[in-house]
Amino acid sequence: MSGVWLRQLMAVLRLEWKKTLLSRRGWWIYLLAAGPVVITLLHWLIEVQHPVSMSRHSLGDDSTGYAAMFLLFYLRGAIFFGCVGIFNALFRGEMLEKTLHYYYLTPMRRELLVVGKYLAGLGTALILFVGSAALSFLFIGRHFGAAYSDYIWHGPGLSQLGWYCLTAALACAGYGAVFLMCGLRYGNPMIPAAVVFVWEGINPFLPSVLQKISVVHYLKGLIPVEVPVPPPLNVMVVDTDATPAWLAIFGLLAVTVLLLAYSAMTAREGEISYGE
């Protein structure tokens, strides 16, 4: 990468960083990220009042509970909608505020602009959601005291935390690329976002071939603790062979790169019409 490109990339990151991470408009995204942290913190504070022997659940229950929260809240809810909010705004938000032309009038490759904006959005999403997932993991079993420390440092805890963080990061990267593309490609990106949401939501009930055409299918396979499906939904779920972790990781990264390449092409060919 030439020095000029690097300087341009850093300039985009610098400009976008403040807008994506410290945005008043993004209050609901902070709320989504903070929600589980607050809940697990309260869980710890409430449970710590009781002696461990009196606890109504085991460490294993908390571990499974966390896995369920990670799958149902983080992957299907918070990260999905958080990425809608962060990545849609990168281009569509500029269109709505009529400020995108300032970028398009600079002597910068549009491809580089796409990458710069994506990285700024990804940085924000990682801080919010990977940070949130890690904190809530650390809080959820904290009331078990030394047993939980043992679980983390001498048991499977640290490895599980790593997998949760990796899965959250891949979700941010994958959904980020999807919604960046939607923001560039569609006048109203909420419509494709709703379509993707429904598709991802019904994923477990689809035939196994169709299940593989989704982001959440691969992410689900990376979660280190299995989440039991409660009845009566369990009879409707279609079981599929788990995708090997390495394939899921590289597959998601490959799809992310492809989507970014398509977004870059769209930006390259794109025009600016603010509808006036």
Binding site: G3, V4, W5, R7, Q8, M10, A11, V12, R14, L15, K18, K19, E97, K98, T99, H101, Y102, Y103, Y104, L105, T106, P107, M108, R109, R110, E271, I272, S273, Y274
Partner: protein, 315 residues
């Protein structure tokens, strides 16, 4: 003049769906101040957006000093565009606004700082440089936008209604900036609805109506091409009644009126050259003392009215 010193449009059309933006435009805009004049919806902004690469032509080819607008990496270095949009990235001061977008040019931070200061000084905005753009008045925002367009020292400056919202002092300073830019052999392409100011600053004008270029060139040249409208000439002399009597004997004189303090004669003639010959003869024959002779309708406003005014609505 070589193509690398011109802004050229070759048979350029742009449609918005089925709505015409501009149609079959052929232009070769030389350096200097060029004004785009036309009513709302005539295609001025479309023309500017096309040359700056924000829009793509449906057909035809555009070159800005030999650079295609499809090549933003090169175009952004030679062109600065002050758009009509009164919108700014949120949360930035005037200084940060200009500095941040200069950094996107790939310059060093030190160079960007120096250019930012120079641009803000050029539009007389240094005092307010560290206040948020959102707290600026409309005129200040307009000047900040202008500073942003000139900060990278472009060869071609495109300005869409740049005088909007400026007070008389700022307007005079801005016009001086355009003049300086034009005199340095650069392109200043400006659209404005303030016709008397367009008239004062323009080296050439492009008149647009309904997406077509109606006329282009130096305004006097454009006026002389409008044959169907008799030329208006104002003569100030000691005996305007005698002159009017002689003029009425000529078939090319359509109208003659005594104006003002009784020493001004305003006439309309279909043949200005014949009138000037006749005037010389009258002066020699009768000793008429002529103080001044000046065309009265070779300004942008008159040409606009002749070519567009009847059909065009407001400018």
């Amino acid at each position: 003049m070589s193509a690398t010193s011109l802004v050229t449009f070759s048979n350029v059309s742009r449609f918005y769906g089925e709505v015409l933006g501009i149609n079959r435009v052929n232009l070769a805009i030389p350096p200097g101040i060029t004004s785009l004049v036309g009513p709302n919806g005539s295609g001025k902004t479309t023309l500017m957006n096309l040359m700056s690469g924000l829009l793509r032509p449906t057909q035809g080819e555009i070159r800005v000093l030999g650079v295609s607008p499809n090549n933003p990496e090169r175009l952004g270095r030679v062109l600065g565009y002050c758009t009509q949009f009164d919108s700014y990235p949120k949360g930035l001061t005037g200084w940060q606004f200009i500095h941040s977008f200069l950094l996107l040019h790939g310059m060093s931070d030190a160079e960007c700082r120096q250019r930012t200061t120079a641009a803000l000084e050029r539009v007389n905005m240094m005092e307010a440089a560290h206040r948020p753009v959102a707290a600026y008045s409309k005129g200040m925002r307009q000047r900040a936008k202008l500073a942003q367009a000139i900060a990278h020292d472009p060869q071609v400056l495109v300005l869409d209604e740049p005088l909007n919202g400026l007070d008389p002092m700022a307007r005079a300073e801005t016009i001086a900036l355009f003049r300086e830019w034009g005199e340095r052999g650069r392109h200043v392409i400006v659209s404005s609805h303030i016709l008397h100011e367009v008239d004062r600053i323009s080296d050439q004008v492009i008149l647009l109506s309904h997406g077509y270029v109606v006329a282009e060139g130096q305004i006097q040249g454009v006026r002389s091409e409008v044959k169907e409208q008799p030329m208006q000439i104002l003569v100030r002399c000691d005996r305007p009644f005698d002159l009017a009597a002689r003029l009425f004997q000529q078939s090319h004189v359509v109208e003659a009126k005594i104006h003002g303090d009784g020493r001004n004669l305003l006439l309309r003639t279909k043949d200005a050259d014949s009138f000037y010959l006749l005037l010389n003869r009258v002066v020699l024959d009768t000793g008429l003392e002529v103080e001044s002779v000046a065309p009265a309708d070779d300004d942008v406003n008159s040409v606009y009215q002749y070519l567009i005014g009847g059909e065009g609505g407001t400018v």
